[in-house]
Amino acid sequence: MKRPWLLVFPALTLISLVLLAPELHAVYLSFFKKNSFAGFQNYLTLLKDNTFYDTLWNTLQFTFCSVAFELALGFSIALLLDKVTKWKRVTRSLVIVPFVVTPVVGAFAWKMMLDVNYGILNYFLTFLGFPMGSVEWTSSPRLAMVSVVLAEIWVNTPFVVLILLAGLQALPQAPYEAARVDGASSMFILRKITIPLLMPAILVAAIFRLVFAFREFTIIWVMTLGGPINSTYVMAMDIYKKMFLFFNDNYSATLGVGMLVITFLISLPLMIRMYAEIKT
């Protein structure tokens, strides 16, 4: 085909306008302070800002915990769904329901389920000997992060399931047949055949989830507002507050640029690995 770039040019232009332009504007804003050029002043402030490090730590905890569980759970569910022969469409539709529910609605549902005095989870815990009201899910600085991670896993695992299931269904059958003929165990097949062959799909799922989890705002905002005592206060929330409630456009733009750089850095190893997988 001659000049294939001509075919992707319209889409690339649109993406550039919608995605790149606001990002470039944010970078531009980050070099100003109340309409005066400030150079790297905002970035120096960022490096000395304790709130930035606190929110970064919370965001990293949230991201890595939720993505790890989503990948593990999503992979397990994908393996199971791949084996289902009857009621295929029904089971797959049920599995993706959390993903199609609006995140705000999902977050509210979890907030109600985890309510300390009236939540259904605490009700079930009474059967295990925990008195009602003894487990303060979203009210405890220690358990609040667990609560939001649970909700995040519930909402986003189906996305991982979809990607990995599609990958599983596209795998060639010849290695499996050869392995079975040689008497390989299921564990061996899983470790030595399924996972290596599925690695590109796993990496795609991981990169997507890492990037989106790092930017998460809705679920945490609805469930805890970043509390209690900032235990679930993530970077996206800090950017939002500084921009929309404290009217500090320049500094919030600086935080946004910082977030972009960090997101790129944490997903870089996976992207390098994915590139290596594609090459082989």
């Binding site: 009201g133 303060e136 979203t138 209690p228």
Partner: protein
Amino acid sequence: MFKTKLTRRHFLRISGMGALTLGGLSSFPQKVLAENEISWLMHPVHYSQMGQGELLEKLYSEIGIKVKAVQMPFPQYQEKLWMLLRQESPDFDIVSIGPFWMDGALMEFLEPLDNFMKKKPLIDQADMLSINTFRANGSIYGMPYRVGARILFYRKDIYKKYGLKIPKTMEEYKDNARFITKKETGVYGTLIFGEQSHFTLVDFNTHAYCFGGAYFDSPDIKKAKVILNNKNGVDAIKFWVSLKEEGLVPPGVLSTTWETFITNMQQGKVAQSIQVTFYVGPVNDPQKSKVAGLVDWAEAPYAENSGLSHGLSPAEGWGIYMPKASQKKELAWEVMRWISSPKSDLYMALHGGGPFRTSTYNTPDYKKYNPATEVIQTALKYVVPTWNPVGLIKNATEVTDKIVLELTSALAGKKSPKESIDRSADIVRSIVLG
């Protein structure tokens, strides 16, 4: 039907063109308002107190002005309002604002109403409560629209059962809370807010004012000193935190807010609390509350050594304002006059609103509708301006956010009450006074 077979290329072309067309159509300007129509940004509870729009229809039939009501829940409401005011957007001619969350930085985008009031005065302005709450820098910027105060909600059946007296002082209030928590199974003596939101600051301020506490020693911020952490302030925060430490409040205080209070009171889990008068209706609603008819109201208590003889309440409620960027200011003022009239106030009062006219409180219909009327009228006599009077405190939102973090740290036991209030005073000093 088609001469050519529909291939993937055709499908992609058609769907691409369809997407572009839909995108283009959505960017068409929205329906423009009619000449006699204005737009009002409000909270859903405001629309509800207008009989789900019935009052606006009456307004149209009487003065011929249509009002397009745009509703938005909190906190999205606050974000939307901040953005449209700062953008100097002409999209809205009237906006509703609560002084308790207002940031003084936005005053420059609001229209002073003095000239309108001179040209076409309000109907019986002397009858209106709290209008001075909306005075800033010598001008009136808003009209009261939904006014309330803090009063004591208590379970009269539990009080009667144990022969408890209505508390006059904070110490008596806490003694009642201790007694009820100990004796009445499944019921807590009181409830306080601890969620990481401005509602927690309002709850703390209620207690602080009843201890004679204050933020500044002068209404003139330029000359004022911060006195938040004086003896009264320290006593207030120690008292407030002790309610949680002694187990007198339901579990989960760090996620408790106004909705939790209403739910817990309706479910009969809380016996008393100092809360805003707007909650009288939901708590007494027989369709939703297990304790409808069992709740009574009294003045908020005061601290014994505070020098007070009545509990004080921060000015609560919402006002209506006119953005400077409005293109229909005269029409907006006509609507504001009509909405703030005695008969409109009564209508809204009978639909769950907070009356802003003395005459409304004195009507037999309202007294029958709201069993707490007399208590509310008394409480309104002892209302003081919020810590953040309209127009005076820029960066109020940031200050609120930081103080709430200190207060919740005290509730969580991460800091002592004294440390938290001292740090809060420092925050006010550094951000407000500079």
